[in-house]
Amino acid sequence: MRKVYMDHSATTPVDPEVASLMMTYYTEKYGNPSSIHSFGQEAREALEKAREQVAGFIGAQPAEITFTSGGTEADNLAVLGAAEAYRKKGKHLITTAVEHHAVLETFEFLAKNGFELTILPVDEYGLLSVEEVRKAIRPDTILLSVMQANNEVGTIQPIAEIGKLAKERGVLFHVDAVQSLGKIPVNVDDLNVDMLTISSHKIYGPKGVGALYVRKGIRLIPLVHGGGQEKKRRSGTENTPGIIGFGKACELAQARMEEEAERLTELRDRLLDGILERIDYVKVNGPRGARRLPNNVNVSIQFVEGESLLLSLDMVGIAASSGSACTSGSLDPSHVLLAMGLPHEIAHGSLRFSLGRQNTEEDVDYVLEQLPKIVERLRQMSPLFDQMQREAGAK
């Protein structure tokens, strides 16, 4: 059976070049970078090279990069660390309704512990307006966090403009760039950001590694205390092989990004247009065109439920994801789709395909061949489809 992996926003395979480089640092050059001897020093050297590679990819100075265990920890370090460091200055925090849980839940935690939180709404495309941000900023606002691109619907936010505004008003600006890195340009100066979260396993690097960019001069209270690694921002022996893999993954992504983005955009539109052509009662979630990540397709297929779609797709070898409640482990469907104003029943039928390096035109065509059959089968089972047809018939 053909296997088509279209869930790259969940995770990506490790690039073979990255994996083989990492292996050396597991089995041969395994020293602790804090050690004085040659074993330690060769690891230190490689670690600092990786820091340069990561910094270089986002236009930062190496000293501004703190390695973490992943995107979630980097988000936590930014939000908790900055709120704690600047709490004397104010207690008001701002974020958006469509952030990743790593950001939203961290802010909610602070809101329960003495801070005031404003959660900004988005429009039907998942887009935040700069005007909303302007209105929300108060004299005691200390931190604003907005993701660069949404993980579910691929909406790209006007980060540079928001960053300019935050700078003018003296508010710290954190950006979660986990989904945008490697797909669209991410430059900390162009975007006017103070802190930026990135993750390795979304760009063909290993899992368990991420980084937080922190602009020089910004204070953060660490989450993890101990031996004082990462300039005391993140104690614990560095995950050297992982970090080195992340560095290499950044170097490869940087070299390939422009060409790959163009290729993925074509595949994305082929898939999206193909679905709309072949299946009735489909709603595109998120914007079309340049405001959407090059690799994201998200549609709601009415009268069917997301998990059923995923199971059926999986049986023909296609891996995708859904914002249905059944796949989130909660009773509510995706908070992102609800924030965009989708009714629950439409959000339950959402389907995300996130494309990546291995995907080809043939893969897209295979999905376009299989998906309509699956939808037809599930709709024949669906009392909602019946009802709609009867109502349409009555008219």
Binding site: E307, S308, C326, Q380, S382, L384
Partner: protein, 126 residues
Amino acid sequence: MYTEKVMDHFTNPRNVGEIPDADGVGEVGNPKCGDIMRIYLDIEGDIIKDVKFKTFGCGAAVATSSMVTEMVKGKTIPEALDISNAAVAEALGGLPPNKLHCSNLAADALHAAIKDYYDKQEKAKG
């Protein structure tokens, strides 16, 4: 995540469809929570002669609907009323814990259909 039996009933659901002029129709769930099950019964005397279902929902919702129709066909009404959601889940070799509540309503839909049958009988008697 799902047992083989669940996947079998999801992939090849038994008794999908509807019964025109059914003796009893039961529906549970709502689109908001992501599961709707509708069960149609054809009853002769005390016996469930035929049963069909339509379901909008996840794999567990489809599989439990299919399973309950298989369990109930040819049974008497009292026997059908004895079938519980838990018994349906058990017949499928179990369901993941998070599915036991939200998507395991097939027996409720069956019972609703039997109630509808009784209500219609009452009405007919006038």
